[in-house]
Symmetry: C2
């Protein structure tokens, strides 16, 4: 008799029909004799509706009250999910994040889980209930309602799995699992049976949208094995876990393509200590997230100068431009170039650690397609290149074929 | 510096525009230097939407989960109301019923308040905040969310007033206060400056829809003086309080007309002990609320029989008919008559206690209008008659003119 934590996202509970489907799935699992904790998100669209009302009242709603407001979304779903199970004759009970014992810090709208005391969850499970917990939310030790920010419901499921010492955590979503690449771009992409935390982290960081980084980081930290699988069918999904020796036999786990980045190049920056720090401190101060950074060796003899390139989310490009232009008097660079027509192509795999020549093979593959490389950045288990957006999908297909087919 | 509890109902907070109006009103009060606790209902329509979703899942939703679901309605309003105050620069903080320390019994969907420990409310008030409390809800001592049933938000406001020892409780609604009669029926009706709890109770019981009985009963029990007033203007409302000697000078406080009742007469009931009890026990068992009951002396010599008449809500008429028909073999009455075309006209006033001849004057007024009286029922401060529905409004106008103009 296993204890399973199942998490269903907003599209899986978007309306009462889909909630009935979720209930039917939970009921089937329960017939196997398993004890089940269900974590649900707000019905898709509900959170946006609440945010819209809040913005009607003030452009930047106060964060404590935003949490009070948004927490109603998941509370609605847990009650409806419990009713759907009751209508199937399954004993079930709903708990808010606070009732489930999820204690967070006081950073409203992006709180961190401090600890979980799942006394109520245990008691309800012992009473034979399916326990339905509101994802995305908790309360401070003073009793204020908090929310966990983006990907918060995944985090709730994984943290509960750790706190309950559950046997399995299943993250139900609208895809079959984690793929070697985005199947919409690369028809030959295949679903992975398993993937290491670090690979999942690098893929998420490289723009693959399956899960937020923080949930995977939390799972890694606490050794929570979880499965990403579809709520639309019964196919087995992808198991995410600590890397095993056998995983290293696979050189590359996946290819990801991020078309949502823009590149800025600050040309002719004086090559003296503190200049790069000045640039990126200013960007951080404007809350702009910088992804890749490349700086090459300096040129010029008397007054050595260098070029600094970096990428940001396209949405942040204008803001980043303004920040850098504002630094011109202080730094004295020559010019600022920007390019929105780029794609970031990454290959990820823990096998890279034990296999050499991976980067070379990547560059060779791209050269074979007459694709010029703009920027290169590497980590222990990832190589990323920035290339022309127009050629990015063809490049991804060629790289997928070279490494994964 | 007074401490005021203000309650705003669903129509007063129906959308973000109206919530802004409520915030502006609260802000003005605060400028007077008063400390303010605001109790709000769910935005009108929200509760119905939630109930509809629940019924999609099961015809009779489980009550604990219904409370979990419905409590989100008020939680949404408190967060939005706090934001609306913030946008005016007023410090405000929202509290759910549970956070405000409202502890109830475990009778879900119609819980009773057991006690209130408003520690948080006091702390927030001391911190200079307007405190916004979700009406209609509380939690059990085990931490389950409960709701208080119909009129629950009024009850929250009145109970909080008692627990906080507040100076004043204002119930904001869409009418200017309590009238001598329904102004839509009787154009000469005037707003009362004050009314005694008992009068308010009898008027509510007689079909005047200003407030639920239980809130008035609670106010009476704990001596909470409250004012019913409009959220649409600044007119003073009606003060509801313990009766004073001066109130007795007014013979009749108001006239009410209830057109929502139906009459049943069981003809030829054997006049022996336990028969009436059998009838009303059966009706109670079917959860049918009986209002007026009239039984006259028996007739017939050998086997004395009598006629029993009573009124029920029109919506319950068919159900009541079935119950009585089912009793025929057991009781052996002659026939069952029903009449939906009735109106119940009542006059209410604590002054009746010290003035004689009130009932006679009522009957005389009706006789002057050629109106036949079907049933009569009296209490210490109320006289009710059942009359033909077609003549009911004219009768109400004549009675209002005779007693109140």
């Amino acid at each position: 008799m296993a204890l399973i934590v199942q998490k269903y996202g907003g599209t899986s509970v978007a309306n009462t029909e889909r909630i009935k489907n979720v209930a039917a799935r939970v009921a089937r699992h329960r017939e196997n004799g398993d004890r089940i904790v269900v974590v649900v998100s707000a019905m898709s669209g509900v959170t946006d509706g609440l945010i819209k009302m809040a913005r009607d009242l003030m452009p930047i709603p106060t964060e404590r009250e935003m949490d009070m407001l948004l927490a109603t979304g998941e509370q609605t779903t847990i009650a409806l999910a419990a009713m759907a199970l009751h209508s199937l004759g399954v004993p079930a009970i709903s708990l808010t994040g606070a009732q489930a014992g999820i204690v967070t810090d006081g950073v409203h709208t992006k709180a961190k889980i401090l600890n979980i005391t799942p006394k109520q969850v245990h008691a309800m499970l012992d009473g034979g209930h399916v326990v339905i917990v509101a994802g995305f939310q908790g309360q401070t030790s003073e009793g204020h309602i908090t929310t966990l920010g983006r990907g918060g419901s995944d985090l709730t499921a994984i943290a509960l799995t750790a706190a309950l010492k559950a046997d399995l955590c299943q993250i139900y979503t609208d895809v079959d699992g984690v793929y070697t690449a985005d199947p919409r771009v690369i028809p030959n992409a295949v679903k992975l049976d398993e993937i290491a935390y670090d690979e999942m982290l690098e893929l998420a960081g490289a723009g693959a949208k399956v899960m937020q980084l923080r949930s995977v980081e939390f799972a890694k930290k606490f050794g929570v094995i979880f499965e990403v699988r579809s709520s639309l069918n019964d196919n087995p999904g992808t198991i995410v876990k600590e890397e095993t020796r056998s995983m290293e036999d696979v050189v590359i786990r996946g290819v990801s393509l991020d078309k949502n980045q823009a590149k800025l190049t600050v040309v002719g920056v004086p090559d003296r200590p503190g200049v790069a720090a000045g640039i990126f401190k200013a960007l951080a101060g404007a809350a702009i997230n910088v992804d890749m950074i490349v700086q090459n060796v300096s040129h010029g003899a008397a007054k050595p100068v260098t070029d600094v390139s970096f990428t940001v989310d396209k949405a942040d490009l204008l803001k980043a431009q303004k920040v850098i232009q504002g630094l011109k008097p202080e730094i004295g660079y020559r010019e600022l170039l920007t390019n929105e027509s780029i794609g970031k192509l990454s290959i990820v795999g823990v096998g890279m650690r034990s296999h050499s020549g991976i980067a070379a093979r990547l560059f060779e593959t791209l050269a074979g397609q007459e694709i010029n490389i703009d920027m290169i950045s590497t980590s222990e288990i990832k190589v990323s290149v920035v290339i022309d957006l127009a050629k990015a999908e063809a490049a991804a297909r060629a790289v997928h074929a070279a490494f994964l087919e």
